[in-house]
Amino acid sequence: MTGPVALEIRRALRAPRSRWTIGALAAATLAACLVGGAVARVHRRAGQRDVQASRRRIAASRDRSAFELAAWQDTLIARGIGPLSFLAASEMASLPDAAVVRIYEPPTMVPALAERSPAATLLGTLDLVWVLTLLLPLGAIGLGYDAISRDRAVGTLAMMLVPARRPGRLVVARTVGLFIVLLLAVVPAALAGAFAGSRLAGTGIDPFRLAILTLLLVTWCLLLASAVVGVSALTDRPASSLALAAGGWLLLSVAVPLAVNNVVQLAYPPPDPRPGLQGEQAAAEVFNRPSESIVETEVERDPRFDPDFAADAATSQMRYYFLLSRERYRRAKGARHAADRALTRRVELAEIASLLTPPSVLSAALSDLAGAGPSERISFAEDAEAYRAGLERFVGERVLADEPVFSDANVWPTFERSPAAIGRRPAVAALLFVLLSLGCAFAGGLRLARGSPAPTKEDS
């Protein structure tokens, strides 16, 4: 077994086509990591600058109470970026870099980069996921579409099968040869790019995530190699195998993800904004047209904030508006309910749809690893809501203490997020790729064992 494999590896590495492809793919991989890292840094800095601007304004406010700062001013919190975020820089453009928090309404996401500068949206953003899902399969097809079909077409397949003794061995040997070429093209460049990209992005290197990235790269290369060689074994001519492999790439890497995205959009169209606009207006009226009944209800719920217990008129008014802010929050949350629910359903469906093709499985697994998957939007909104609740408690304590002016900006609550835990998706993806690779190799071997190695009549 090792003889034919070693022979195929040597043959694959010596071919000029392989050398050119290795060089081109390695350059593309490295470029993708560097561009991804630089884009991730831009996102990190944008979030940091937003937070700093907000805290500067809090520090500059001399005569405002904590309630006034939390209600009439924006407190900005940054989403932050996780380790290996450079992998999926493209997705980060559609995620908000920061959120605006006011205690009387759910956190509002600031416009994402894609909204502020959509010019680059038209062109996309190069990152490692882009190279692995769109360009690497094309490279594999270019290298291996004639791995077996060419021998069949020129009549040398029978000669190759004699020393191999079992037809499956030829398929395995050719698969390993192509796999090694793809591995050399991508893995060293991706690992070097991971260090450089993480450094550029300003995030640390997480060895565990790096190991998972390597596992995904290796299994993805294995799947591509076995699929291309399998297709080559299944067809009679190089032109047929090229057409089949290219068609498969177009279908699995481009058409199905695009179609799924459009189907998801049609299934969950944006909700009608009019009820939300009306709801926000109703929420705004809580402050614009204060109602005594609302205050009475809130005092019954939490008597500590009764305005009558305040030290003076100013602090009494603060308690009054603090109680109103709770009702306003409930109304604002209700106004956004339909949009939030549609977003949650949309994200759930997108996550399910990402399981449809191997490239979208890889894309979803790497996005998870980078902390930029579809659920990141919801996860950040939940974290921001937890911060808002904490800010409300912080302000509530100062309102109860009848503090007229907030003076120490350093104690204003800060927002910290730890990188999300890695889910099961990358491990499941790697396992799926291995199983699919075995399936492709088996199908190719079966075709060689059952079919005739002779060329077609026309080729003869």
Partner: protein, 479 residues
Amino acid sequence: MVPFLLVAPRVGPVLRALLLKELRLAVRSRRVWWVALVMAFLGAIASVAGGVRHASERALHEKLTEYGARSFGQQRPDHPHSIAHNGYVVSRPPAPLGFLDAGVQPAYGRWLRLDAHQTRPLAGARTVDLARGPGAGRFDLGLLLAVFAPLMVVLLGHDQIARERTRGTWAMMRSAGLRAGPLTASKVAGLFARVALAVLLPALVCVVLLVADFRSFELRPVLWFGGHVLAMFVWCVVVLLLSALAPTEQAALLFGVALWATLALFVPPLAGGLARAVAPVPPPGEAMVAAAAWADSAHAQTEKLRVAALEDIRRRHPEWDGTGDAPEVVDAVMLRLADAKASSKMLDLLERMDREADRQERLAASFATFSPTGLASLLSSGLAGSDLPHLRASFRHFERYRVELMAWFNEWWAEQGSGGFDAYDQTRFDDFDDVPRPPPFWVPLAFAVRRAALPAGLLALAGGLVAAALGWVIRRRLG
């Protein structure tokens, strides 16, 4: 160039014969009809996807416009200043040819409630719908023609010259004394005829159906389709050049696919990524904090502002000697002056942010000029009215209206009001018949043509250069 050569006395007959031969082969080619079938299928999907989205956007725009007018006119009695804060719900209409090319529309907001003192961003951008891949997840005719149709050109034309050499017919042409000019022109015309049959004709049918459905009978769709025809021509000469340079048909196909992957799938995202990394746009939160600080200053009643307001009233009412009640509400004049200052600052900030975004866009566009696909995307969205400058123009349109509305309210209050919010508890807003309403947003075709001129010029230049290179290579091959 080809029409002139066709009637030229010396080369005309040979060229016409070669062209007829190429056309005959094109019509008989099974590959052409297969590609036409695939293109028709994809074109139908793209038309439905683009048409459905555009129709829903248009319906939403109409609903919101009606809602904005109704909710503004039916507000509860309130002080004019509060009403100015509540503002007007305005909606951006979809791009004129958004059903053909949605451009960057999915990433741009659609509506907003204008606030008197604050510039608010448009809301309703569907960034959650943006997906990885060309076009960020949308699938319409613009994307199909700019990104995927070139692959069909590669499939149709990779062997046009390479096959002549592998089958030995090239040597026959050389021995027949065929000249490079007519041969180049016939090859280009032959491949373009195939592309016209297999790619452009199905796309044209889809465009005509969509234009008829949305009743967009104007020059714009003609120019839009013409732009894509130009891009297809460039791809034709590029593919023929590859076919002339490649040693075999198989190599020509591999080179063609690799070139397409590089120009359509690698260069544009590289350009987009580099532009984002090298020319980042300012953070939005920073601008929001600045805008909020200026908006607060509009309510700050400082002594300095009061003095300025009194001077303004004296200037406008020279008969008032400064004693007794002022002819205008001083608070309202103070607000007007502060608003004007805040608006001026805000406009400066917007100008600066737009300049940064323009810088990023220019950088992305300059990188994209290396790819016919990038140029075709810019040209297509520019003519469709769905590129960034068109959408930004819509936002500016609403911002101008916001300033006008705010000024009107402040003016009214200053001249007719008596101060004090309680006085307006029973005054219905319907009384303000003269209040300015948002004029409909419309951008002339000339704006779109100016936007598309540069990519179109670069495409024409690239086509000319590659055609000259093709002629030179064919001359060398003919010896």
